[in-house]
Subunit: 179 residues, 2 copies
């Protein structure tokens, strides 16, 4: 089951490495962005999981109430022979229905890109009908892993995005802010 | 089968993105490292696949004939909401048995870290006995994918490392140079 392995990969290869230092990273970001930093915002990493695995590379393309603000300070670590591999998060300003902005580190769950591409490739072994099931399996497996993880607890928010509201141009910003 | 999905992920999420621009990256590296750059070296990305999935984070720790030289120029791309995600490779100077050095971009196949960690975690669903089989499946699946890929052809070398020569302190450098 592809989704099962991808959830573990997302944990061992990323979330377990970056979440423990996220709060310190956000504090340092606020210190260096004084004056512009809103006190409203998220201390947790928001991870978007669209049920159709159709991830965008730029959140602004999805909702005009979302604007890229800046990147959190980079972390670098020696990883599997790559000296100083860079891990970074993007902080977005998300505008609510009253016009107030909130600063949030948000990103899509990148492994979904693999699920999407595999469903399009005849050689990869599964098609579009199974893809939705695989996304749900990815989400549930990741939830279970993270709930068991002491070092990641309370440092993230997983948001499963269904595809029923795609006609609402502000569906994404409203969903992010609801959490 | 976890290894099958990890091989596809390594392709769609990494090799397919970085291999097409590797040659240009190496040319630019040589131009900026004139005088120190040896003409002996590899134009291909060397990817190490140890059969026991036991990957090291620093190649120098494995063999004193291997020294980190420098990183290739970073590539940055907007990826799944991360603005300017950084992808980079490390170039190593590998000394042969005549004392001559060769410059090679080398790294371990990062997904093996996930296989290794999963085999150590009671909740992940497979143990050490299956791990070797999973590494072989990863290697074979990756070989098949890359052979079919027009944009990656001839830009990489996969090296399956068996664990029978671990008492030879220069096994890794010799193996890299044999390829
Ligand atoms: N050597 C190497 N250098 C890289 O820059 C790199 N980037 C990805 N990969 C490997 O390719 C495959 C596909 O990557 P994807 O991004 O879909 O999944 C990634 C991604 O969802 C997340 N992740 C890892 N690093 C980052 C990062 N810097 N930013 C955001 N997400 C990341 O965690 C998953 C597992 O990462 P790795 O376990 O390091 O191995 C990956 C994976 O096997 C890399 N391998």
């Amino acid at each position: 089951n592809v989704a099962h392995g991808l959830a573990w990969s997302f944990y061992f290869g990323y979330l377990q490495l970056v979440l423990p230092s996220l709060e310190a990273s956000i504090d340092s970001f606020r210190a260096s962005h004084q004056g512009s930093f809103q006190s409203r915002g998220s201390q947790k990493l928001i991870v978007l999981i669209p049920i159709n695995a159709n991830i965008s590379h730029k959140l602004e393309d999805e909702d005009s109430n979302i604007k890229f603000y800046d990147s959190l300070p980079n972390s670098q670590m020696d990883m599997a022979g790559i000296r100083g591999r860079v891990y970074k998060h993007s902080v977005y300003r998300v505008q609510d229905e009253h016009g107030k902005t909130h600063e949030c580190p948000v990103e899509y769950a990148t492994p979904l890109l693999t699920l999407y591409r595999m469903s399009q490739d005849r050689n990869a072994g599964f098609g579009e009908p199974e893809r939705r099931q695989q996304v749900l399996l990815f989400y549930r497996t990741l939830q279970d892993i993270l709930e068991q993880s002491l070092e990641c607890r309370n440092r993230y928010r997983l948001i499963l995005l269904n595809d029923e509201h795609e006609e609402d141009p502000h569906f994404l910003s409203k969903t992010i802010l609801k959490h």
